[in-house]
Symmetry: C2
Subunit: 106 residues, 2 copies
Amino acid sequence: MRRDVFQAIADPTRRAIISLLALQAMTPNAIAEHFQSSRQAVSKHIQILSECQLVNQKQTGREIYYHFNAQKMKEVDVWMDQFRALWETRFSQLDNVLQNLKNKQS
Amino acid sequence: MRRDVFQAIADPTRRAIISLLALQAMTPNAIAEHFQSSRQAVSKHIQILSECQLVNQKQTGREIYYHFNAQKMKEVDVWMDQFRALWETRFSQLDNVLQNLKNKQS
DNA sequence: TCTTTTTGCAACCGTTTGATTGCAAATATA
DNA sequence: TATATTTGCAATCAAACGGTTGCAAAAAGA
């Protein structure tokens, strides 16, 4: 059972759930209303997000509000640091210009 | 067959391959030497990376050099933009301080 | 030419994934 | 108390995943 952040954001439905919760904490039922699949299917996605701590839950009565945990998402950002220089430097921009010229020729 | 960038970086072996190729373009054999699994298994990972355009190939003779495509990785970075404000603003830092205090109390 | 090297592709196999349905527990409401 | 609502959990299933082995094609070297 791999339960890391990278595996969690691999599924498009889970990415959509994350985007929803980043705007506002919601209950499973409220989340499920945004999707066509069953409540249980959405609930399983939430469970996966919960296991890798991308979301936290706060129970009030019988309702459970799921909150997005931005700090966990930062782990992806940290991994991406090693590539960021490759598209931010002028060198790579120059490379792109040359590459585009080459593609137009061939 | 989902073949997007998010699915591609979900696997730890593929992430390692990407990190290797970001430093230097390599042939499948050279890549496979860095891992314990078979060359064919690594080759399948490369194929997936190739299908979602995270790597490009340049053939010279019978050798194929795989190059990392940073621009494609940028798609992940763009998706993360929506969350970046949540950990960079002073507001969220204040939230963390309050949260930590709350956790220590309970 | 014959052999070696490099690579991709197909077949197979056990495990995981993402979805479904059904059901039980806990809380709120009439 | 009886009923409705909210939620989680278990069982099931087809498809995808990640690995293996075997083999064929193309290029390089003896």
